[in-house]
Symmetry: C2
Subunit: 207 residues, 2 copies
Amino acid sequence: MIAMEEFSSTLLENAVNELSRLPGIGRKTALRLALYILRRDEREANSLGQSIIDLRKGIRYCHICHNISETDTCPICADKRRDNSIICVVENVRDVLSIERTGRFNGLYHVLGGVISPIDGIGPDLLEIASLARRVCEYNVKEVIIGLSPTMEGDTTAYYIYRMLSRTEADKPTITRLARGVAVGNELEYTDELTLGRSILDRRPFE
Amino acid sequence: MIAMEEFSSTLLENAVNELSRLPGIGRKTALRLALYILRRDEREANSLGQSIIDLRKGIRYCHICHNISETDTCPICADKRRDNSIICVVENVRDVLSIERTGRFNGLYHVLGGVISPIDGIGPDLLEIASLARRVCEYNVKEVIIGLSPTMEGDTTAYYIYRMLSRTEADKPTITRLARGVAVGNELEYTDELTLGRSILDRRPFE
């Protein structure tokens, strides 16, 4: 803990305070970053600071899938070449980026903004779950892929969504989940037994 | 490596690029920070961004000791209660903060801005060494404490400064260095043998 009065400058103190609010950045790291910024061109410091201000000011959320976007409808939802009858439900924006990077999915997304976690006080009403149900009815969605992490919270949320979508009045969409199994490139020896067990149950014809 | 075109927003791409220029922050961490900033109030993002811009714009270096300062003379050099006949030579601004935190030093500092390191192409002329010699003559300094890290580069720099100050025309100041020895709270068993050997040679009367 670095005491406040020990910085010789309130500007430095202020920058260290602000930087240390970021997740995973303690006061020591914040000080190192601030001193690094001091050694760079004024232009560089300005463009870093301004990019943060512009980011928060300019970004909104897509009104369809709740992914981040600079427009009302995000580029993925607006892309006519994508299959709007398949929706992949994910926890957050990072998961959209991860799945996009695979290049294996051509449908649309639905970003929940989190997973159900009673211990953290996060119930379904804090997430974009009701809007998912509306979207499924409205857009005649054929398949909903549950793309949530295979954790306790992810599984709870998946089950909640599964039950909710099974009750819809509209044509019920097929509900699928991501395959679970041995990670590509991993040694069987080091795969945990739950995953390995699942990979046996879910075995597929040899192609 | 996250490919550029995979962000759905140039604002996000821009912020991630800028954040990942910071030392120790890769593109994955930068993305995590950017998404964190997106979830905060616009006010918070503004004050973070602005604090970075203000920091670089408002901070200059003390013309006497080269510590960071918001004024021409830093608060330490300007403090009349401090003993201006003792100068502690340190590598960088962080070292000033570290020594100030001990509360055991009441003299002034001289920030070199680095240490001599031929392998990195850093010679004495890139550091505030000539200004140290001038300062010692001008201000009738009685003691120069070499407060450099006991590394190869630190020792080389210390020796260079020692030789330079020994050649001054003015009254030669006493030149001292930080004590080396067993760290307070450390087990002898885990102290390296160079340090332990030094702690025997430099042993002090039991007080």
